[in-house]
Each structure stands twice: as C-alpha cells, then as structure tokens.
Amino acid sequence: MAKASKQTVSEGLQRVTLTINGKSYSRDVEPRLLLVHFIRDVAELTGTHVGCETSNCGACTIILNGKSVKSCTMFAVQAAGAKIETIEGLAKDGELHPIQNAFWENHGLQCGFCTPGMIMQAYWLLKENPNPTDDEIRMGLTGNLCRCTGYQNIVKSVRAAAKEMR
C-alpha cells in the first residue's frame, strides 16, 4: 500500500486521501469509519452496497489495489493512499463493461442488490483466471450471496463474460 497520511487534522479525526475510479477523494474521518461508508457517504458512490455488514454477503466487494476485498470489513484509514475500483468505474463512455453486459443478457440478476458485489468479484476472478471452469467460477464467488437467482444465471453470466473478454 501507499504511504499513510498520518497527520491528525482535528481531534479524533484523520485525513484519508484515496483514489476511487481514477478520481481523488480526501476527507477527515474518524478511524472507525468503514471503507464502505467512505465510498457511499463521502464519495457518494452508492453502487457499492451494504448487505449483511458481517463479511458474509459480499455486496460491498470492491477492488483495492488490484484485489477484491469486502469494504465493510476494512476501515477507511487503512485504505489511505489506495487505488479503489467500484462498480461505477466499469462502464466506459456509456458502454457497459462486458461483465455488466453479460449479467444483462443472461438474466444474472433479479432484485439486483448483490449484483455490484458479484460483478466486482467476477471482475477480479477473470483477471486472475481468464478461462475459468464452472467450478472455478462457483468457488470464486463463494464470498458473494444472492437470494434471488439460485446462482445458475450468475455462473452463466460470468462464463459468457469470460468468453467475450478473451
């Protein structure tokens, strides 16, 4: 990780500067502020969802310095200096990312609450393994819960995205 900003700005607060989807954000925050709340409330990027808040559901999955993590299980101060990618950063020039498109085309969502986390995790998974088997897709998504789809179409979507991206 990049260097920390250590100066105490006012009592009990610490300056956090980080990059989300290429844009820099800076705010004095309490150390107990969770990264997901920095993303949603400070950066006002509400595509990253808060689901279970107990590190189970994966709705809050983001990419931190190239690795997928659950942003509800990390303090914003830990991410000072980090490069973060969220669901809002995937589409380019009004064009959906191939993973987003694949979820659209394959009915990979119903209510859509888990979808940002699913897509960010799939994004990391396909970077690690551009040609996954169905088993590898399922194992790669074990940290993301969906209560609607039964996962069949999510796996299908990721498989389709992988094909498109190769």
């Binding site: 990780m1 690795k67 299980t73 995790q121 998974l125 940290g143």
Partner: protein, 292 residues
Amino acid sequence: MVPRKFEYFAPTSLKDATSLLKKHGSDAKVLAGGMSLIPVMKLRLGSPAYIVDINRIPGLDYIKVAGKSVSIGALTRHHTIETSKLVRDKLGILAETAGWIGDPQVRNMGTIGGSLSHCDPSGDWGAAILAVRGSVRVKGPSKERVLEIDDFLVDTFTSALKDDEILTEVSVPLPPPRSGGAYVKLERRSGDFATAAVAVQVSLDAKGVCSYAGIGLTALGSKNLRASKAEAALLGNPLTAKAIEEAAEAAAEDAQPTPDPLRGSAEYKTEMARVYTKRGIELAVQRAKKVK
C-alpha cells in the same frame, strides 16, 4: 454496525509498532488483515482503545526458502500462499489449507500471522502448522524469540504473544522426498468455520514405512490440537489400511471437542475427527507416494 471509538496508528517500522504496543499494553491490538479483528470490533465483542495497523511496515510479506526451511512473512495473505508455486511444490498442505479459509475476498486480505495470533480454535492455520511442526518468530521492543507452534498456541483466543510482541514470521522445515500432506475440512456451507478439520503431513522411507507424521486438529478442542496418539500410531509403521484406521481412531481420542450449537455435538465432532483423519491420512499418503 459501528465499532467503539479508537485511536489509530499506522507505524512504518517494527520498532515503532512494538514501542506503541509497549506504551499502550493490553489496551492496544495489532491489525493485520483484520478479517477477525474488525468483525469482533463491529459486533463489539472487543473494543481495543488503540489499533496498531502493521500493514505499512515493509518487509513482512514474503515466501522464501531459507536454509532447510520455508519462511513466510507474517503479512503474507492467504491467497498468496494458496497460489504460491514454491508452497505448492514444497509444502502442498499449506496451499490447500489457505484455500479452505473463508472466501476469496477474505483470503485476499487475511494474513497467516494474524490468523495464528488470533488463536481461534476454529482457525485453519494452527492445525496445518502443527502438522508440519512449524515455528514462529515474534518480536518485542527489545528482543526477538522463536517458539515452536505447540508452545505458541496456548488456549482459545490466547497465544504466547506478550502485549508488546508481534508475530513476524512463520517457518516450516522443508519435508524430505516421499512426503505428502492434506487439509480436509467439513463445513456446513462454503466459507463457514470448520465443523471439524484435520491437517495431515507424512513422510515415507524407501520401504514405505512412515518416517514422519504430523496431525493437527481444527474445531476439535479449546485450541488447534496436536493429535499425538494418532501420530504415534503412524510413526514407524507401514501405512496399511489397518494402520490408518487405528490412527484415525486414536485421533478421535485426541480430540476434545465441546458441543457447538451451530455445528454439532461433541459426539458428532469426535466421530468427524475419526472420519476426517482417515481421509486426510489416505490423501497425504497418496500424495507422498507420487512425490519423488
């Protein structure tokens, strides 16, 4: 879920980190991957007044061969160990164990040093490091010491770390030829803590006689336990089906599970200790026979 207020430090050297720990004593807690500590703080099961984040300290994230051992830096993430070619080639049991921890996102953040220091009896690393008879290096403000894993794991959520010490490295002896290991785990659903899990490492001599046996148990006692009777049942014997069965029965005696309202009675867990030890030994032996 919001943790209680705390003061946050992100030191950039072990010296600074240990002096912060010395200053704040038991009110301070080390933050590594945070995959256990942060949920604990959010649920307010624990509310340390001072958090010492060691992630800004360089030089604690590595896997390397050092003499006749493999050394793993405390901040090495589970995913790094899971996918390390060196680990897969030399100590497959560790890569397999890493792959059973939590879920992919947790493995991207969680660290081997943090997991061991947390000393959760349901943690996976303790059993694996017992099986391979690893040691840990811990550093305090003025001195460093090396502890065998058996001495490091003290009790539930209690390691041998003093308040001002940090685990910096895990070291595992390189196994001889004809060695193999396995980590087999029973979980209610993917990503759950173990109902029971067993780590097995064996070595065979040229005649197929067991020349090394290490067996560690997860979620089968107040901490990760060494299955000593099961190890003794293997050592010095050819690993026939009968010998494996006897070792598995011995492992059930070694296990000291407490009933878990979510994951099964003590009786069930004891039986799973037997079943999974048997499977673990069979798999380890198969792998040992393939490794020249």
